[in-house]
């Protein structure tokens, strides 16, 4: 597994995604500050400087905590996992593939919405500023808290964002990385961070939201491909573990040739192109991205297709829900409907919003 050994593709994708998001958020904040406090008409160098420092401080602190927590979690996972690894490698691999696949699938849907983020943030920040007078009018603890938050918003926002993106990434990486050896994690994490930051910067500089959305949708699609492959591989690994048990000591002898798979469950088996044998190299990459295997089973093929069916059905349902305001096959309920409308609305930024930023919002929750 030469390539796969040091570079776990899913880890890269996840870290890349998360760092990209973080960069975008931070850059939006900075842009916002520049626009509002450092513009030709709205100069307030002192406040600007202070707030910019808050942004960077929040970002840095968030990042630091993430690294510490992440390192700890992953380290602990490995320590727990490694001992049992030898006994039933297939079972563990299967379980971790499954976990990774589920995480990718669930979170991937959430990630899809990032395309609209830049505008959203602008709106929110604008609102934050505009709302200020009204907010201060409140009383009691809640209001005090809010005032505090407002004061340090430029610290709290990037801090919480980075923290959350980071934890997210850690959960991701921890889950995904168990389908790969430990040494395959660091490199994609570092490159993911760098590439994410770079792309985020370029996109920010380019300033094209359309391109950003294309980019993010594209990377989410890639993530789903990975998820499908992982799901199929999970089933494959479980089967493979059972097969290794069934043939006992022969498992090591058979390599990728006859007997390395259960012929009665085989859909195809080609003696070349193994993603694991002889370094895997290109085929290992294809496995990571597209779920390729040289030895497909009924289980792995069916699970791959079922995965996609579920994902397709899931997105169609979600879209249905967004548009119609209720779930398919269910009567639109008043209460549910309201939630739905709000939900979909919460993402929505109309044309005016995306330009002006301050025009509207429907963060209706109190």
């Amino acid at each position: 597994m030469a390539g796969e050994d040091v570079f776990a593709v899913p880890v890269f994708l996840v870290v890349f995604r998360e760092s990209l998001e973080t960069v975008i958020i931070v850059s939006v904040l900075l842009a916002f500050l520049k626009q509002t406090l450092d513009g030709p008409t709205t100069r307030n160098p002192q406040a600007y400087k202070k707030l910019v420092r808050q942004v960077w401080l929040g970002t840095g602190l968030g990042l630091l905590i993430c690294l510490a927590v992440g390192g700890g979690i992953i380290g602990a996972f490995y320590k727990l996992g490694v001992n049992r690894w030898e006994n039933s490698e297939g079972d563990y691999e299967g379980a971790f593939c499954l976990i990774a696949s589920v995480i990718i699938t669930v979170v991937g849907a959430a990630l899809l919405r990032i395309g609209k983020m830049q505008e959203k943030w602008r709106v929110k920040l604008a609102n934050a500023m505009v709302d200020k007078p009204e907010t201060t009018g409140g009383a009691g603890k809640w209001a005090a808290c809010k005032r505090f938050m407002e004061k340090y918003a430029m610290f709290a926002l990037p801090f919480i964002t980075v923290l959350r993106e980071g934890i997210e990434a850690i959960v991701f990486v921890a889950g995904v990385s168990f389908s790969a050896p430990a040494k395959s994690v660091p490199l994609p994490v570092v490159t993911g961070l760098l590439v994410g930051a770079l792309v985020g910067y370029i996109l920010y500089k380019g300033g094209s939201t359309a391109r950003l959305q294309v980019f993010l949708v594209f990377s989410t699609c890639l993530l789903y491909l990975v998820g499908a492959g992982l799901f199929s591989r999970a089933v494959w690994s479980f089967e493979s573990a059972r097969w290794a048990k069934a043939i006992g000591g022969d498992a090591a002898e058979t390599g990728a040739g006859p007997g390395s798979y259960d012929i009665s469950k085989s859909v195809w088996h080609v003696n070349c192109c193994s993603p694991v044998a002889n370094g895997g190299s290109g085929w290992g990459f294809l496995q990571a991205v597209f779920g390729w295997t040289n030895s497909a089973t009924y289980g792995s093929v069916i699970s791959y297709n079922v995965y996609w069916l579920v994902v397709i059905a899931g997105f169609l349902t979600m879209r249905f829900h967004e548009v119609k305001g209720h779930w398919p096959l269910m009567k639109p309920k008043a209460r549910l409907g309201s939630v739905v409308e709000q939900d979909s609305g919460s993402d929505v930024v109309d044309e005016k919003g995306s330009k002006g930023g301050i025009v509207q919002t429907k963060e209706a929750t109190g």
Partner: protein
């Protein structure tokens, strides 16, 4: 188990009647319980309620009649008299679906033949890998004219064998299954001497004993040595040899050695002797396996039985190629026909591991090959009628035939030819590759070649075996590891089939066995009596493993790709989907009046803002929407 006295005298029980030149045995073959290694009782195939089964013993020129009754109830059987030429009686040779139909449960069957060869033989089932379950015993042909009359005072029969605790049908089912893809042969549980352990062989000082030693095992070759005594080999596989001294011999499954041991002159001590299974054959060595079995040459039963000294491998047993036949028979002329067989192990489409000669794994024909030879008329000389899967070779009477066997496998294989001794004109060392590649010419062949009927082919080596087709019949050539017989390491020599048609008369009870089994007795290997060259319906091995994509695989791959593409399209579509028409901005301060108006529900503020909640449980903690929760307080004053 300890200390069974060796039954040295011939078993002349009530089942044996010696009547002038006819020796008659009534064998009621049935199940008994045995536990020769003291580790496990197991059902064992015995004869007349006994196991070990009786020895068949006759004198050169005798007629042997064995009346078999199969009382097994659940298995068919047949008897092969290993090493006997069966000249003129090929139908008495025993392998089922080759020269007869297996004897079904409850049926009777008579083997009736004369023996013209002196020496040490054995008999065993030749049906469905059955003999390791117990149906295996010595067959001794005495020779009043033996040239070695003066070299020994007394004869002993000593068998060596391996022993399983499970019955062959179950072991075979596993062995030839997809769960055993490397074709690992089941490893025996014990080694036995005379089907027992801790054997005592009583010797008298100064006396000379002829040991007739037979490996009646299924699988394991055995190294045999006697502490404090050398052996003088006089015969191998029924071929007298020039007396040759050795300190250790190796007997593969089915091989025999007769040798003289001269007892020492004093009573001072007893001596252990050892049979040690050749563990090279074993795929793995179970921790609890004792691959040795010890016996003692007992001079004085009151004296202790010393533990055997430990010998370490590599053992250096006597090389049987060095033996010279007593009759000095010189090498036959250049062969008229050469058959080259490559030994290959490979997996077929059912995932199981099979053994191949060239690219053919032996598959039993529907009609016993002998019956095809007898009923195919002129076409009996056409190998097609016997089915390619019985791997037939047609020999003309009087031909000199070479069998070149190239071992492309990394294991040892003892090859046995029915109906003949072969001249072992060449045998390579381990790893020599194929004979064809090794540039060995006839000049290197032995001038007076060692002859026997079972020879060990070394790992990745080769042998050249030469014989004269002087015995019309149908003779199989196969590896005598019983596992490999079942996994197909067998070929069929059909020798002078037209002569057979003229001379051979199959007894009615042979046909009756077929009838009881529903096995056809005429026509080609597929049972076709009209068009003998039409083999449709023949028994065939499983198809080869597909080497690449099958239609099934292509369909699966296409569907998977389609699913992936459509899935990606849907994800992208969702990602790019225009947001649902947002309500007209009714207020600068975020109260979504339009929606409130439409769905004026009191509890609404409690509801999560996060629109992605329905997607999955993880969303509240991980989704993008959460960001809104966090930012909400920033601008939101009216809680």
């Amino acid at each position: 188990m300890g200390g069974w006295p060796l039954a040295l005298v011939a078993i002349l029980s009530s089942v044996v009647t010696i009547n002038a030149a006819t020796v008659k045995y009534d064998f009621d073959i049935g199940w008994v319980t045995a536990n020769p290694d003291g580790m496990a009782d197991r059902p064992t195939i015995g004869i007349n309620g006994q196991w070990p089964i009786p020895r068949i013993e006759a004198t050169v020129g005798d007629r042997i009649i064995v009346n078999v009754l199969n009382s097994l109830g659940n298995q068919s059987t047949s008897l092969h008299f290993h090493g006997l030429f069966m000249n003129g009686t090929t139908h008495m040779d025993g392998p089922s679906q080759v020269t007869q139909c297996a004897i079904p449960p409850g049926s009777r069957f008579t083997y009736n033949f004369t023996v013209d060869q002196p020496g040490t033989y054995w008999y065993h089932s030749h049906t469905m890998g059955q003999y390791p379950d117990g149906l295996r015993g010595p067959l001794i042909i005495n020779d009043p004219e033996t040239p070695f009359k003066d070299l020994y005072d007394e004869e002993l029969v000593l068998t060596v064998s391996d022993w399983y605790h499970d019955e062959m049908p179950g072991l075979l089912k596993f062995f030839i299954s997809r769960f055993n893809p490397t074709g690992a042969e089941p490893v025996p549980k014990s080694a036995l001497l005379n089907e027992t352990q801790d054997l005592h062989v009583k010797l008298q000082p100064g006396r000379r004993y002829l040991f007739r030693m037979i490996n009646i095992g299924a699988f394991a070759g055995q190294y045999v040595w006697f502490e404090g005594h050398n052996v003088t080999i006089l015969e191998i596989d029924g071929v007298y040899t020039r007396p040759t001294e050795a300190s250790m011999i190796y007997l593969s499954a089915a091989q025999r050695y007769s040798f003289v041991i001269t007892a020492r002159d004093d009573f001072s001590a007893n001596f252990p002797f050892m049979a040690s299974m050749d563990t090279d054959l074993f795929d793995q060595l179970p921790e609890d396996l004792n691959w040795n079995v010890t016996g003692w040459l007992v001079y004085d039963s009151k004296k202790p039985l010393p533990e055997p000294a430990v010998l370490y491998e590599p053992f250096e047993p006597f090389d049987d190629m060095a033996l010279l036949p007593w009759d000095n028979q010189t090498i036959f002329r250049e062969p008229d026909q050469t058959v080259s067989l490559d030994v290959i192990m490979d997996n077929l489409g059912d995932g199981a591991n099979y053994a191949f000669f060239n690219n053919i794994t032996y598959t039993r024909p529907k009609v016993p090959s002998l019956y095809t030879a007898l009923t195919a008329g002129e076409l009996a000389t056409n190998p097609t009628v016997y089915s390619e899967y019985s791997h037939p070779f047609i020999l003309e009477r009087g031909q000199v035939v070479d069998i070149i066997v190239n071992n492309l496998d990394s294991g040892k294989h003892p090859f046995h030819l029915h109906g003949h001794h072969f001249q072992s004109v060449w045998r390579s060392e381990d790893g020599a590759g194929t004979f064809q590649d090794s540039n060995i010419t006839a000049d290197s062949f032995a001038r007076v070649p060692m002859r026997r009927d079972t020879i060990v082919l070394h790992p990745e080596g080769n042998v050249v075996l030469r014989f004269r087709a002087d015995n019309p019949g149908v003779w199989v050539f196969h590896c005598h590891l019983e596992w490999h017989v079942q996994s197909g390491l067998m070929a069929t020599f059909v020798e002078a089939p037209l002569d057979l048609q003229k001379t051979l008369k199959i007894p009615d009870d042979h046909y009756a066995a077929c009838a009881a089994n529903g096995v056809p007795t005429a026509g080609n290997a597929a049972g076709n009596t009209i068009d003998l060259l039409d083999l449709r319906g023949q028994n065939a091995p499983p198809d080869p493993l597909p080497s690449g994509f099958t239609p099934r695989g292509i369909v699966a791959l296409v569907f998977s790709c389609l699913a992936g593409i459509i899935g990606i399209a849907v994800v992208a579509w969702y990602g790019f989907a225009e947001p649902v028409e947002s309500p007209p901005p009714s207020s600068l301060l975020g109260v979504d009046g339009a929606h409130d108006a439409k769905n004026s529900v009191a509890g609404e503020p409690e509801l999560p803002v996060d629109g992605i909640a329905p997607v999955g449980a993880a969303a509240p903690g991980t989704g993008r929407g959460v960001a809104e929760d966090e930012i909400a307080p920033l601008r939101d004053g009216h809680h």
